[in-house]
Subunit: 230 residues, 2 copies
């Protein structure tokens, strides 16, 4: 059986590591509640009791998965950026499946309400905001909101990977589909969907709604996003 989570450090041939890897995968696939301890134990090839022996409880197992996912992502990023591994053409292809699985786990955790995933989301928003301030100053009137929307959209792609893959006819967690998605993503990031005129119209409409809210504060309001799909 292949270990998709990878990085077989010497300690990682233990049953504890197998349990954690299986949990990571099943949690990502079925959600926290959808993956039982018995299922995880079976996938790891151990008894259910051993899961409790090593991790104390399901919550403990989840915490361990959270910590491992974050640590793993940080190490890979360090290797890529500081270690100069980006120049190595084999590095990204080798680590990419692991990265995608880890992201998928964290994205699932955000929907299922994981504290680690939540703080991960906040970290990403913070990083995105800093990156925007450095590389695209003045890009948006509300950089915080812009960064948050950006991160939520990206994370949403992973959370909805099943449907996105179905619509594309290729798994976005596999090379082919991911490549197709990435290309559309670059298109999306590089060519504006709304003309300056339409954007100005939308902003004017928001102003109007805001004035309306101020005069009738009890009345809930807010137009739907200015976009054509709906």
């Amino acid at each position: 059986m292949v270990q998709p989570v990878g990085d077989p450090r010497f300690e990682d041939l233990t049953a504890r590591a197998r349990i954690r890897d299986a949990a990571l995968r099943l949690f990502a696939e079925r959600g926290i509640d959808g993956a039982s301890i018995r299922d995880i134990a079976k996938a790891a090839g151990v008894s259910g009791g051993l899961v409790r022996h090593h991790f104390g409880s399901k919550e403990g197992l989840r915490d361990a998965c959270d910590a491992y996912a974050l640590d793993r992502l940080m190490r890979i990023k360090e290797q890529a950026v500081l270690g100069g591994q980006l120049a190595n053409p084999g590095f990204l292809p080798a680590t990419h499946p692991t990265i995608l699985l880890l992201y998928r786990y964290l994205a699932r955790g955000m929907v299922d309400g994981s504290k680690a995933a939540a703080s991960r989301f906040d970290d990403m928003v913070e990083l995105a905001e800093q990156w925007l301030a450095r590389h695209e100053p003045g890009h948006s009137q509300d950089p915080r909101a812009y960064a948050a929307v950006l991160v939520a959209m990206q994370t949403g792609l992973l959370a909805l990977h099943e449907h996105l893959s179905r619509a594309l006819g290729a798994d976005i967690l596999a090379p082919e589909g991911h490549l197709r998605m990435s290309r559309a993503l670059v298109d999306f990031y590089s060519t504006p969907l709304l003309s300056p005129e339409l954007a100005a119209q939308a902003h004017a409409a928001f102003e109007q709604v805001e004035r309306l809210q101020a005069s009738q504060p009890r009345n809930p309001a807010g137009p739907s996003a200015a976009q054509g799909a709906e």
Copy 2:
């Protein structure tokens, strides 16, 4: 108790309607598995047995919620577009909370694996693709993928509303936060994040990866999205 799902048609004062409304809300908040029939019955002020009496099973209740959510959305859209209600300044503020709840329910269903939500996603992709073909022909080299990414991103915002709201300090399902998000969204749609040079670089990199995949088909590959937050 106020009925946030609204549209109190004459039949909607019945216990059956109260159960369906409570289920819609609890399913959206906690997920399908997270909301038990007993919880829903309590929220609706009825016994658990009555839920089964009216809907047969939890699956049946979910199907009813799906059908109701889609029907409700279609009716509101019909009223807005065909009925000319968009000119009525009170229409959008009044229906908006309902729309958001319905979308949130459907977004949750997509993560939890609802067939109705899945087909809803596919419908939205289809609509977005048609809209793009009509209003922005030639906008993307792969309109299908572009439309799918667009819809997934939008839906992801709702699926991750909890974290987005926390990052913004305001509930995006309430007027104030939704307004702030909408503004960032318009910024996002109207001003390109990637310069043409960067986009060209990214596309060139994708070409390279594709050639690499073709020569080493067993090696999984694909760069992460060309974006600065990560």
